[in-house]
């Protein structure tokens, strides 16, 4: 893939997964003009501080030591994505310094940020996503802080968000925290309850339980594009709209601005642009003969849909760059996987990113995910009242309904992308995993006879248990390949 900037051209090397040191060396080939060009918060102009294109070694030196063990895609677009994602903490502090309002979202996983982006100079972000930090930093500091505040290891890794909130070294003090409760996990609720006791400015947003109406009218054959659709009862939408109005009053108070429906319509267009790009990249990647982009980058990309890593315009630009790269690779018959790679769908995002590296190391490839953020992947409806679209989006969430409805999302992908195996990476002591995993397996087996592997992701530093996961994944991929051969 050639990336052009004015008359300057950078050409990606042959697609491969490379280590930190290799990226460090490769980075020397990237013209300075590119480093200067890729910026976040472009509306702030060119400043010393708002570039983000750095090799992984830069973030390694800042503390993300785990990066030295990971493998990365070697394209410029993927490097942009990594730099942009890893730079988010710094970006939030810069936003605060620049006078923007910082809104922490918790628990809704992508449903509410479009509303926040519609307020001028107002930035959403997810403390929930700091659950990756203990792994990336090879440090238990955030878990220890959460434990000091009463939430120990019987809670899912999302307790790192409590540690981060308490320390306020990972993001600045939010102007408002929107905490989504109701049909959400117990562990997340406990984390939010504890954060509330730290005396931050909070707004509680109730998410209703989505009861199965009993009939699924969104069957894949009639509605191929809408892999992400869920069905729900109409009175729930009325309720969510009311909750949106409550939230709007609070946002108006915090930002000092009036809610503008037209601004939200404009934001929804941008959000759909981002989600559309992510959909297309995933579809190209999952359908291609050779997988054009590694699983880890695909996860980073999927999570860009939550809050655009706090900069919507730049996120869209990066997703477009990545789509061009992926399309070009597929067009040229290039990829990072073998022809006979085991086609795997991954359920629940692994807090330990190296597990996604293992998939390809062992001869597998990703052909689908259910990373509990269905609500942020689906395109929002173009209803004249944008709050109706937002509410509908929220009611498509992965975890607010039954396991059967969540499994439906997986079954559609198995069918569409010919999956040969399923990996479920459980989060130990998470209230949904402990109940869902056995049901998901049962529901999949009602329809498909494919191998399913489930395991608990282990906490940072537990090397022996992690090696057991590697052994199990090895046997799993071998089983799939053996099945293919026979």
């Amino acid at each position: 893939m050639k990336t052009e900037l004015n008359d300057i051209v950078y050409k990606d090397p042959f697609p491969a997964r490379i280590g930190c040191t290799e990226w460090h060396n490769l980075f020397g080939n990237i013209p300075d003009e590119f480093i200067d060009h890729y910026r976040y918060y472009r509306h702030c102009g060119k400043n010393e501080w708002n570039t983000y294109l750095y090799p992984p070694t830069t973030f390694l030196i800042y503390g993300s030591r785990y990066l030295r063990k990971l493998k990365f895609d070697n394209s410029l677009a993927s490097l942009r994505l990594w730099g942009f994602m890893m730079n988010e903490s710094e970006r939030l502090f810069r936003a605060k310094q620049s006078g923007m309002k910082i809104i922490a979202n918790m628990g809704d996983l992508g449903a509410i940020p479009p509303l926040i982006f519609s307020f001028k100079d107002t930035i959403p972000f997810y403390p929930d996503c700091y659950w990756w930090t203990p792994f990336l930093n090879e440090s238990t500091v955030l878990f220890e802080e959460a434990e000091r505040l009463g939430i120990g290891e019987d809670c899912c890794f999302v307790r790192a968000a409590l540690g981060a909130y308490s320390k306020l070294a990972y993001f600045p003090e939010p102007d408002l925290g929107i905490v989504a409760t109701g049909a959400s996990c117990n562990d997340m609720n406990s984390v939010m309850q504890s954060i509330n006791r730290l005396d931050f400015n909070m707004h509680w947003f109730e998410i209703p339980h989505r009861r199965d109406p009993g009939i699924y009218d969104s069957d894949l054959k009639n509605n191929e594009r809408d892999l992400h659709r869920m069905d729900y009862q109409p009175h729930l939408k009325t309720f969510v709209i009311e909750e949106m109005h409550n939230l709007i009053s609070r946002l108006e108070e915090v930002t000092g601005q009036k809610y503008e429906p037209d601004a939200l319509v404009g934001t929804i267009k941008k959000i759909n642009k981002l989600r559309g790009l992510v959909y297309e990249i995933r579809d190209i990647a999952f359908s291609a003969v050779l997988c054009p982009i590694p699983a880890l980058e695909l996860m980073n990309l999927e999570f860009i849909t939550l809050s655009a890593y706090s900069d919507l315009d730049e996120a869209i630009d990066i997703a477009q760059h990545l789509k061009d790269t992926v399309r070009e690779r597929v067009k040229n018959g290039k990829g990072i996987s073998d022809n006979d790679a085991a086609r795997v769908i991954w359920i629940t995002p692994p807090a330990d990113p190296i597990l996604l590296n293992y998939l390809e190391d062992l001869g597998g490839r990703l052909v689908g995910t259910e990373f509990v953020i269905n609500q942020s992947l689906r395109l929002l409806d173009s209803n004249p009242d944008p709050l109706v679209s937002l509410s509908d989006g929220l009611l498509n969430a992965s975890l607010i309904g039954t396991t059967r409805s969540r499994t439906k999302l997986i079954l559609r992908q198995i069918e569409k992308y010919d999956a040969e195996g399923i990996i479920i990476s459980n989060i130990f002591a998470s209230s949904h995993c402990s109940f869902e995993t056995t049901l998901i397996k049962e529901f999949i087996r009602e329809n498909y006879n494919i191998p399913i592997l489930s395991f608990d992701v282990v906490a940072p530093g537990k090397k022996i248990q992690q090696s057991q996961i590697l052994n199990r994944m090895t046997a799993f991929i071998e089983t799939i390949k053996e099945k293919k051969r026979s």
Binding site: N186, Q193, T402, T438, L439
Partner: protein, 378 residues
Amino acid sequence: MSKLIDFLSKLNKNRRNELRALKNTGRIITGYFCHYVPVEIIEACGCIPVRIKDNLNDKYETAGRKHIQRDSCSFCKAALGSLVDNSEFTNLVYGTTCDQLRRLNEHISEKTDIDSFLFHAPRTHDKNSTLNLYRDEIFLLIEKLTARSKTEYRNEQLLERVEEWNKLRSFVNEIQRQRIDQPPVVTGREFFYLLSTAYFLGPESFLKVSDEIMEFIKTKETSREPLRIFLAGSIICTADDHLLNIIEEQSRAVIVGDNTCTGSGWMNNPLQYKQNIFENLLKNQFDNAQCPNKMPNDSLYEFTDKQIEKTKPDGIIYRSLKFCHPWNFEAKAFKNRYNIPFLHIDTDYSKANIGQIKTRVHAFYEMIIARKSEDRIK
């Protein structure tokens, strides 16, 4: 064995037989989880409410473990194991107060033929939107229950049921008041049995034996100066009998107050009614649940503050069930809030750790006694 518990056990046994007979005649026996579920409405819909918490034990917990993972709450595992094994219920009702309960519903629906209904019990309050949702959901509950019982729901019937339950609440609250006295008139174990029986029998049957119960209480021998213990934490059910025994054995200590999912808070709020009974009932349920999963859960602490002030305990024993997140993660806040000796026991229904719990409880009591002696000397 306490004479009162002996008496109550017989009542429970008879009631269980009576329910079986009623079920055979076509009456609807509705099992329900959590006190967010309004019993008066279940009755007004022609069904008989029975809270699911009795008959649970460690064997059922192990049985439930076959269907859900080990890192799920012991109560849910035991309830699942019990209901899959043998159910005396026609249908089940759940509120979404706890995510694990919400998900338990689906397991039970998949593995048994019991009809079930899960309604959204809002966690946030002080706003019309969530009250409106709660109302919508209770309407759906009524629709579901009346369809099953083929009975028409009427507000007059609801009012009558509310009046009956209020009489029961008043009676239990009177015992609760006397429980605070020194020496306490009933042990905590007796009180939990009493409360459980009251709910199991329902107002009419239970109040018929109220005089006999008061007689047991009046003639009861009490130890002179037991340590006064406040019990807080996860649901207390039959599987916890050994725990209550350990806390109160040899009459060294008595549980004088509590805040648990099934304790005195359950009877705490007689309904102020007369007009618009349905709305008042909703408001009462909505505003007064002392649930750790309320967001924020200030009402949990407001209730506990009052209880602690009234009961003046020497120590707090805080029992959380393994992987019961809502209670487990409140332990620290409880400990920090009350300047009272505090013991946190995080356990399941297994009896394998009885010895360890005994040792910890005894050490806790010795520490309290030593402190009290020091205070006297000072």
